[in-house]
């Protein structure tokens, strides 16, 4: 199978799951950010925990394809803040924005248009503004197990178990 075909299949599964899970629903996202509707937060927590456990198992089996992002601490903190403001204003992020537009939400389509403009401005300011900020406090492509010297399993098991216990204890009775 070509990589384009694999990409299309995984993307289709992801788009379907984002929609079925209520992450491609701006009302669920805003409800979670306002701490009034925990559905999306719990979905995201399970998503992250299962991904973390599965990736550790893949690594042990020697079949994980890692793609770690560089830890450019300042650029990432600024980017997270900008994304967070847009996320809190709209209830969309890039993946769910596409999924919501595809489910008939015209406001999501407008947000996707805003994203395309954001990407264009990013290209324009890349050399002058982004690259210098990206160089500040940049620890390169490093993972928490690597930088701490503590093996991945000692990170994954406590986070996974702690997360599942917290989810079970706080569930609706």
């Amino acid at each position: 199978m070509s990589s384009e075909t694999i990409g299309f299949i995984i993307g289709s599964l992801f788009g379907a799951a984002l929609f079925l899970g209520g992450l491609a629903d701006p009302d669920k996202i805003i409800g979670t950010l306002r701490l009034k509707d925990y559905h999306a937060m719990r979905t995201i927590a399970v998503f992250v925990l299962v991904g973390m456990l599965g990736t550790w198992i893949l690594e042990i089996a020697g079949v994980a394809h890692f793609s770690v992002k560089p830890a450019a601490m300042v650029a990432i903190a600024i980017g997270g803040a900008l994304l967070g403001i847009g996320f809190g204003l709209t209830g969309y992020c890039p993946g769910t924005g596409l999924a919501c537009a595809a489910s008939g939400r015209l406001d999501a389509l407008v947000t996707v248009a805003g994203m395309l403009l954001g990407a264009w401005v990013f290209i324009l300011i890349y050399a002058g503004i982004v690259q210098p900020i990206d160089a500040i406090a940049n620890f390169k492509k490093v993972t928490l197990p690597e930088i701490s010297g503590i093996a991945r399993g000692f990170w994954v098991v406590p986070i996974f178990v702690g997360g599942i216990v917290a989810l079970v204890l706080t569930r609706k009775k």
Partner: protein, 178 residues
């Protein structure tokens, strides 16, 4: 007219989370972690190339090969659109909507205001995602899957500013069906 309320999601949180997590594991096992926002830059790069090829050739970022081709990531995003469209249609939740329930509760029925806020929000989302080397998928979800150092500052600022902005933009709470 009756006030609309926030509906339940099609799937409960635990099953949706498990499915999303397994898709992440599938992606990391077969190719690479989930990620969406790079292709927005790639789409622009292709448009710019059609107008000014030299600009692209000399650009420190978009001269890279991955911004030039319609490869894995491009088809991944087309997949998201297709998967969401087919699923929404099959479960009869495909519906033209111009605003959201939280927005209506706080800012009334004006679609124009929602669109303006949506456009500005989208601009900030993608600009921020690329500053941060990834979005909620590529940086947050994939960062935690791999336990990257970069996910720590990203999680703090994204959720911190996300919650603060939502608190300011949506003070009134609509009816939520649980």
């Amino acid at each position: 007219m009756e006030e609309p309320s926030v509906k339940k999601s099609p799937l409960p949180w635990w099953s949706a989370g498990i499915i999303l997590g397994l898709i992440q594991v599938l992606a990391i096992g077969l190719t690479k972690p989930l990620g969406v926002s790079t292709e927005f830059v790639a789409a622009n790069a292709k448009l710019i190339k059609a107008v000014d090829e030299d600009y692209v050739k000399e650009h420190p970022l978009i001269s890279e090969e991955k911004y030039q081709k319609f490869g894995y990531g491009w088809w991944f995003n087309l997949g998201i659109i297709t998967g969401a469209f087919l699923t929404a249609t099959m479960i009869r939740r495909w519906k033209i909507q111009k605003t959201t329930i939280w927005w209506r509760t706080n800012h009334g029925t004006s679609v124009a205001k929602r669109f303006i806020a949506g456009f500005i929000g989208g601009f900030l989302i993608l600009l921020g995602a690329r500053f941060a080397h990834g979005c909620t998928s590529g940086q947050f979800a994939s960062g935690w899957a791999q336990l990257s150092l970069s996910v720590v500052p990203f999680t703090i600022t994204m959720f911190g500013f996300g919650m603060l902005t939502a608190y300011i933009a949506y003070p009134k709470i609509p009816k939520i069906i649980k």
